[in-house]
């Protein structure tokens, strides 16, 4: 492949869960591209399939789930054709992941240095001393004071914010091309969240690492990401440049989400609310999954909308784009 191929290109990805109650399509026809050094925000509410998308890219979807269609091109290679061994060789080295709860991802009975050195030596023949040095540098990079001493601590000796930094440091150890971060700051305080966002942003700018930031929080993505994909019931309903999407949302769901965020302009007034709640994936309405909650729904919405592209390079999955826009 040519050098200029994007870091990650997901095409028509489909992931299904074969449960006793039926087949749930958690990720359906999801496509997006992340270029080198770019940050993509993947936004959606609980159950929208954003986490499963992240897991699918890393080949972490467990039974009864399975990637059933589409391509995941990582620097031109299709990951869906990878064997488990091939996946092992890139997971943690070329692509790494940061999860929401750092207490769950760090081993509580091993010291941080053990865990970090193991992660380096799993992918590279390198002496322990060199690995230790690299682990120390990685901790320093994410802003942990006196990394040399902190390496000898156990995870429980760190605070929540520090633990998440350690998780980021581990993700960075092998200088990956892509980091997938799944709600990494959701459990943290604003000040700590700002610190982590600051370090992450710096790293992406300095090293050219690409980032997929999965979150339900539009405000975090607003300050961080270059591009945004909004997911609803397994599908991407709108994607594009962050400024275009947030300033001028075209899909009624995006519009509703933005209206739900409290902000200084709406003080004291009722928030625009999206009526109802996310439908169960096992029992989706026919046609557009959002039509039951959509203020612009029309009979045409009973057929499945296809993705259409707009003049500013944005993709929207809605029959009623024109009508919705004239209302806004």
């Amino acid at each position: 492949m040519s050098v200029s191929s994007p870091t990650l290109q997901v095409e028509n990805l489909q992931t299904q869960f074969f449960t006793k109650a039926g087949v749930a399509t958690a990720v359906d026809d999801v496509s997006f591209t992340v270029n080198r050094g770019e940050i993509l925000g993947l936004v959606g509410e609980s159950g929208s399939g954003k986490t499963v998308t992240g897991f699918s890219i890393l080949g972490l979807v467990d039974q009864p789930g399975k990637v059933t269609g589409g391509k995941i091109l990582f620097k031109g290679d299709d990951l869906t054709k990878y064997s488990e061994d091939q996946y092992r060789s890139i997971r943690g080295s070329r692509i790494s992941m940061v999860f929401q709860d750092p207490m769950m991802t760090l081993n509580p009975v091993l010291r941080v240095d053990t865990q970090m050195i193991e992660a380096i030596r799993a992918h590279e023949k390198i002496s322990k001393a060199d690995a230790f040095a690299r682990a120390r540098d990685a901790l320093g990079q994410v802003g942990i004071p006196s990394p040399e001493e902190r390496l000898r601590s156990y995870p429980h000796q760190f605070s929540g914010g520090m633990r998440q930094r350690v998780a980021f440091a581990i993700a960075l150890l092998n200088k990956p091309d892509l980091i997938i971060a799944d709600e990494p700051t959701t459990a943290l305080d604003v000040t700590i969240q700002a610190q982590i966002l600051f370090e992450t942003q710096k790293l992406c700018r300095e090293t050219g690492t690409s980032l997929v930031w999965i979150t339900h929080d539009l405000t975090v993505v607003a300050g961080l990401a270059d591009n945004i994909c909004v997911m609803y019931a397994g599908k991407i309903v709108e994607s594009g440049k962050i400024d275009n999407v947030l300033d001028n949302p075209k899909h009624p769901y995006t519009e509703g989400l933005i209206g739900s965020v409290p902000s200084r302009n709406k003080r004291g007034e009722p928030l625009t609310q999206i009526p109802g709640m996310t439908p169960s994936l096992l029992n989706l309405p026919t046609g557009c999954a959002f039509r039951m909650r959509c203020p612009y729904a029309a009979p045409v919405c009973e057929t499945v909308p296809i993705i259409s592209s707009c003049e500013d390079g944005r993709l929207v999955r809605c029959h009623r784009v024109e009508e919705a826009r004239s209302h806004a």
């Binding site: 509410e45 609980s46 605070s159 929540g160 914010g161 520090m162 305080d189 604003v190 000040t191 700590i192 969240q193 700002a194 610190q195 966002l197 600051f198 942003q201 339900h216 929080d217 539009l218 405000t219 975090v220 607003a222 300050g223 961080l224 270059d226 962050i242 400024d243 947030l246 509703g256 989400l257 933005i258 209206g259 739900s260 965020v261 409290p262 902000s263 200084r264 709406k266 003080r267 004291g268 009722p270 928030l271 625009t272 609310q273 999206i274 709640m277 996310t278």
Partner: protein
């Protein structure tokens, strides 16, 4: 907002403190007898907090985890006893009440909790969760209970058809509505919301926030709203109180606080609110983390992280002083400049 001297405060906290003490274990006691300087571990979760809430007001308590905001809320709701200080509800000292008066006060202050999964008994049906308290307190007759429950549920946006269901049959947003209905069922005047929307999705959060505001209008409620989310707080509150390590550092009307934050901690917090309008921002975080409440710094608790700290901040505890009318801040810098 009505002026203070016209309307009496509905809730008044005076110098309220809460200490959690972990006594020494056996080995520790022996070591102490033998002359070691081991001491009981004491956490000052809330340290001399004074606060008034007026009738009909929404006052928000904001701070990072571990700053004592939930402990304060629990003391107000009567779930935790205070170590020292007084709580006055409608002018009466709550600690001095007993019998019927104490019960009435307890009913008038209700609490809504953060986690709608943990705060509902999974083995009770919704009708019992909501109906138990009004039945016990004889707010409603056995015959009228069903209609009463339907009323409360409708008011909270729940379908009365669901009375026979168990909590696990509801989504997170609906469970939070059950929690609200439970609190409202005893006809309270004052509601303590402890991170009541933090666990909800954005669209559901908007629904619940709207419900809070609507109930406030309809039932003339007063809220003490505890949250770490300044975006939410800015949206709904009349007055904001910022806490740091058990102490109030600043309190002001919402517009005033956001327009002219006085305390360096408030300024830092406000700078860091992620907003829809800020794009591709350069994050400039404050250094460090909230220190352990087991071993708080001397003087002003914020001085190790404060970029403007002077010598005085390291030794002397700043007191809350009025900087402009209605705007209080605890910072030495206000006097030295």
């Amino acid at each position: 907002m009505p002026e203070k001297d016209i309307i009496k405060p509905v809730l008044e906290l005076k110098n309220l403190s809460k200490k959690f003490v972990k006594p020494l274990d056996f080995a520790g006691k022996i070591a102490q007898k033998l002359g070691s300087n081991l001491r009981d571990e004491v956490v000052h979760a809330v340290d001399g907090v004074s606060l008034t809430v007026n009738k009909g007001e929404v006052v928000s308590l904001v701070g990072e985890s571990g700053c004592g905001k939930s402990t304060l809320g629990r003391m107000v709701a009567g779930i935790l006893p205070q170590t020292s200080g007084d709580i006055f509800y409608e002018g009466e000292n709550v600690a001095g009440q007993s019998g019927e008066a104490a019960r009435r006060t307890a009913l008038k202050i209700q609490m809504i909790f953060q986690d709608p999964f943990a705060s509902l008994n999974p083995r009770l049906r919704v009708r019992d969760i909501i109906g138990e308290a009004p039945k016990y307190h004889k707010l409603v007759t056995a015959a009228g209970l069903d209609e009463y429950l339907s009323d409360v549920m409708l008011r909270c946006g729940l379908d009365p058809e669901y009375k026979q269901r168990y909590p696990h049959q509801f989504s997170g947003g609906q469970r939070q509505r059950i929690g609200i209905a439970r609190a409202l069922a005893v006809q309270p005047d004052f509601i303590v919301c402890d991170e009541a929307v933090a666990a909800l999705d954005v669209s559901i959060q908007a629904q619940v926030l709207n419900l809070f505001m609507q109930l406030r209008e309809e039932l003339d409620l007063t809220y003490l709203f505890i949250s770490h989310d300044l975006g939410v707080v800015e949206h709904i509150s009349d007055r904001i109180v910022i806490m740091y390590l058990g102490r109030i550092v600043e309190s002001a009307k919402t517009e005033e606080l956001f327009a002219r934050p006085n305390h360096p901690y408030t300024q830092a917090l406000l700078r860091e609110i992620p907003r829809l309008e800020t794009r591709h921002s350069d994050f400039t975080p404050i250094e460090g983390e909230i220190p352990s409440p087991l071993d708080p710094p001397n003087g002003c608790h914020f001085h190790p992280r404060c970029p403007f700290a002077i010598d005085r901040c390291r030794s002397e505890v700043p007191t809350l002083k009025e900087v402009t009318p209605g705007h209080h801040s605890a910072c030495h810098l206000n006097e030295s400049s």
